[in-house]
């Protein structure tokens, strides 16, 4: 990168730009614990410059300079994903968007909030609650995930089953194109809004959004102990009832056993799966919800209702998923967008896989739509034991393959899921996405290397061969371990 440009931007932004190695190294990773030996030979994750623009005009100016000088730009806010979505792989500029923060306007009668893209979901929820409103949905990483960031991902999380994807809740966005041009996008604009949903920072920088909100209502929480064979049926039944839940979260039996061992789940939950069901609405709605649960309890389901305090606690702890990692210290896994009808088939096959590789697989997830759930299947590892850790990384592909067998696909793409691009999109979808990229970012400066195609060394064939070899070694090593 031209040192002149670095100096120019440093001078312009003052203490909001840095090329310090101490600082920029923290912008070269997200949550993914991928060892340096796998990353560094393939990618340049070191930013030449990290900048923190304060408003849309500065974002536009930085992008214009980058565009004119062919400098890659990687936007970043919460950086709470695991696929390197917000990690540069070709150096260049990392644009930290966390200063684009705050509420611009609340239209109470129109039930619409205009918010800057770097605001976190928890910050927006707190603001809205104070005004008698609430978010329709939010990610399970709400304390750190930004409004703009989640929009640029797939945008399914807590509340989506009732209120749909984030895309369906956003009326308009302000977008800075890679060439620095500022655009207002709606569903009817020249560049339609839906281009940006799921674009993962590859088409421009979203700086502001108009989001539909709901009235703040009361909630009622239920926690069900479910026998494993009935998990799919119970989840399907609840989400298909006339009173649509706000959220359904489930954990398999092994997850509960591990969390019990770690001191986070009571003994009474260890012999079953759990399904947490959360409703929101009017008093009548909550009565209807109560009736749904009561009817189910008297039906032929293998299910037991936990105490209210446990259900409330489950909701309160909805952002504490990483407590599982205390069993690690490292945790690997695959997140799968899976048809609910196949949840049991998936979990059964995961069990088979576990027998084969003795990984101690645990699964949990939430219902995202009437048809789909997002399921995380995870296992422990120790990143200090590099060889064993690399071998275990191959198991992530096995998990995705099982998901694919049951109609699933990876949730999110970034860099690390590009080898699965064929699982995620069919050829016409992929052609359409690539055409959009070419239209909006013909120079390819925005978050290069993500989403559209795997880098050469990660192409599907190479990836498959490498992962299968690693898996075979892992299995052999695992057998050896068992013999010991």
């Amino acid at each position: 990168m031209k040192s002149l440009i670095i100096d120019q931007l440093k001078q312009k932004l003052g203490n909001r730009a840095t090329d310090s190695q101490f600082e920029s190294s923290l912008y070269s990773r997200d949550l993914a614990p991928v060892p340096n030996l796998l990353v560094n030979p393939l990618f340049n994750t070191a930013a030449d410059l990290v900048v923190r623009p304060i408003d849309t005009a500065e974002v536009a100016e930085i992008l214009k300079i980058s565009w004119d000088n062919d400098i890659p730009v990687t936007p970043r806010a919460g950086a709470s994903t695991v696929y390197f979505d917000s990690v540069p792989i070709k150096g260049g500029i990392v644009m930290d968007l966390n200063l684009l923060k705050g509420i611009v306007a609340l239209d109470e009668s129109g039930m619409m909030v205009t918010v800057k893209a770097g605001t976190t979901w928890s910050e927006l929820e707190k603001y809205l609650n104070g005004k008698g409103f609430a978010l329709r949905s939010f990610p399970s990483s709400a304390p750190v995930a930004s409004i703009g960031g989640w929009f640029c991902m797939m945008g399914y999380g807590i509340g989506s089953i009732k209120y749909g994807s984030l895309l369906s809740q956003v009326k308009a966005i302000e977008l800075v194109l890679p060439n620095g041009e500022v655009k207002q996008l709606t569903s009817d604009s020249d560049i339609p809004l839906d281009y940006l949903a799921g674009s993962e920072g590859t088409l421009g920088v979203v700086t502001q959004l108009q989001v539909h909100v709901r009235k703040l209502t009361s909630m009622k929480h239920y926690l069900l102990k479910v026998k494993e064979p009935d998990l799919s049926r119970v989840v399907n039944h609840i989400q298909g009832e006339r009173m649509v839940p706000y959220n359904i979260h489930f954990s398999d039996q092994k997850y509960n056993a591990v969390m019990n061992k770690l001191g986070f789940v009571a003994d009474e939950f260890t012999g079953s799966c759990t399904v947490a069901v959360d409703y929101e609405g009017s008093e009548d709605d909550l009565k209807a919800a109560d009736a749904v649960i009561s009817e189910m309890m008297s039906g032929d389901f293998e299910v037991e209702l936990a105490e209210e305090k446990d259900a409330n606690q489950e909701w309160k702890e909805k952002f504490l998923a990483l407590r599982l990692k205390r069993g690690g210290p490292s945790q690997l896994g695959g997140e799968v967008w899976l048809p609910i009808n196949n949840l049991n088939h998936y979990l059964d096959t995961i069990k088979e896989m576990d027998k084969k590789y003795t990984l101690g697989l645990v699964s949990y997830g939430h219902v995202a739509t009437a048809e789909h759930a997002v399921v995380m299947t995870a296992f422990f590892a120790d990143e200090r034991k590099t060889i064993d850790y690399v071998l275990k990384l191959s198991m992530v592909k096995k998990i995705q393959d099982i998901g694919h067998r049951y109609g699933g696909k990876p949730y999110g793409i970034g860099l690390w899921n590009t080898p699965y691009i064929g699982y995620i999109f069919d050829n016409s979808q992929l052609a359409e996405l690539r055409a959009r990229k070419k239209e909006l970012d013909p120079k390819g400066i925005m978050n290069p290397g993500k989403v559209y195609r795997p880098p050469l060394l990660l192409n599907s064939f190479n990836f498959k061969v490498a992962m299968n070899i690693l898996a075979a070694v892992s299995r052999a090593v695992g057998r050896g371990n068992r013999r010991v």
Binding site: S20, L31, S80, N98, P143, F264, R323
Partner: protein, 388 residues
């Protein structure tokens, strides 16, 4: 899971457990001022992992030491950590490693020298501990070292030696006298509680301080100790357990004891026509779980309209004055305080009350700099005003 139980294991393990999710970031007052990842808890832990957790410890950089010192130990990151990491203990463990290597910031080293020499954080002789009592209208009998007193008031270094905080012990003593409480203080035998040494990383040096204070309490046959300093209270409550094992000592913050006196009818409160908001000191609220006593006191004063700030109780914002931050980066401490002052302003309160002399100092400066017509008071001062 018990909310009070720390899951802390070792620095090395906890740094590995951190998943860099960043839930800690938005609540961190230091990150909210500085804004760079290296100032956020997850950034610091990420660096700590590289240094300490990968087998052989690598060199600790000056930048890392600076960032570790830029922390108020407010505990906000602990309370939201999605992996259940007791980050407050983690920061203390890192500071200890830095101090063990002789790399502690110069300000910490000076603080340590002062403490080891004077037994308090000031440049004054420890014999002057009760100098503030000269401003009392009537000095009570037994103010110093009265054996068998019902209550011993642990004054704390800041209130004992810094004139701007001297009003706190004066007020507390006047209230105790009016309520006919049989009380005493440790006078010149009160040594610093030891927290400043712990928080600077000189963990072993705090031990003689604890041993001395506990020995004096036992010698005086004291069974109820009250502290008006939130940090002294937290330290007595959480860090002196081994030395106090087997000895019956009730440790209360002044707000808990004063609330009890009000409930028992030993303090009578008159009407005050004021709008009051309350700032939870981190070491009293989030780190010790005392939220209700101060609110109960404020709400028991007739005529007072109490308004909570945008962030309160466990969610409260730090004043910027904790964790020895002022000694290494006073400018950062002041900017953190400004964030809290902004929230105070939004309440429209005429009085901001707290229960920690350090918070009150920080907020007084912040309110003054912002030119706000708001009185900053210790909760004891509010009580005394309502008693007069």
């Amino acid at each position: 899971m018990s909310e009070d139980k720390s899951l802390f294991t070792t620095l090395e393990e906890e740094a590995l457990i951190c998943g860099r999710c960043g839930s800690c970031r938005s609540d961190c007052p230091v990150y909210n001022v500085i804004g760079w990842e290296s100032s956020a808890p997850r950034g610091k832990i990420s660096k700590a992992k590289d240094i300490f957790s990968k087998g052989k410890q690598v060199e600790i950089s000056d930048e890392f030491i600076e960032r570790i010192a830029q922390c108020t130990l407010c505990g906000a990151c602990s309370s939201v950590c999605s992996a259940g990491i007791d980050t407050r203990n983690l920061w203390l463990a890192i500071r200890k490693r830095i101090a063990d290597e002789g790399r502690a910031p110069e300000a910490y080293k000076k603080l340590r020298d002062t403490l080891l020499q004077n037994r308090n954080i000031s440049s004054f002789s420890n014999d002057d501990r009760l100098e503030w009592a000269e401003d009392l209208d009537d000095e009570p009998e037994g103010l110093e070292l009265k054996a068998g007193a019902e209550v011993c008031y642990f004054v704390g270094c800041v209130s004992s030696f810094y004139p701007q905080a001297a009003q706190v012990p004066i007020t507390i003593v006047e209230i105790l006298m009016k309520a006919d409480v049989d009380f005493t203080t440790m006078g010149g035998e009160e040594w610093c509680c030891g927290y400043p040494l712990l928080s600077a990383g000189f963990v072993d040096d705090r031990k003689p301080f604890i041993e001395h204070n506990v020995a004096k309490i036992k010698e005086l046959d004291i069974h109820t100790l009250i502290a008006s300093c939130a940090t002294c209270y937290h330290f007595w409550k959480h860090d002196c357990s081994p030395e106090l094992e087997g000895y019956d000592l009730e440790i209360l913050h002044a707000t808990e004891y004063l609330a009890r006196l009000i409930e028992e009818g030993r303090i009578e409160l008159n009407e005050l026509d004021e709008v009051v908001t309350y700032h939870d000191p981190c070491d009293l609220g989030r780190n010790s779980g005392v939220y209700d006593a101060p609110r109960s006191i404020i709400n028991s004063i007739p005529g007072v309209q109490f308004i909570e700030m945008g962030h309160s109780r466990a969610d409260s914002l730090c004043c910027g004055g904790g964790g020895n931050l002022q000694s290494v980066d006073p400018d950062l401490a002041a900017k953190i305080s400004d964030l809290r002052v902004k929230e105070i302003k939004e309440t429209g309160a005429s009085i901001i009350v707290s229960a920690c002399q350090q918070c009150e100092q920080m907020l007084s400066a912040g309110v003054r700099n912002a030119g706000l017509p708001i009185r900053v008071m210790d909760i004891s001062e509010l009580i005394l005003e309502a008693m007069d």
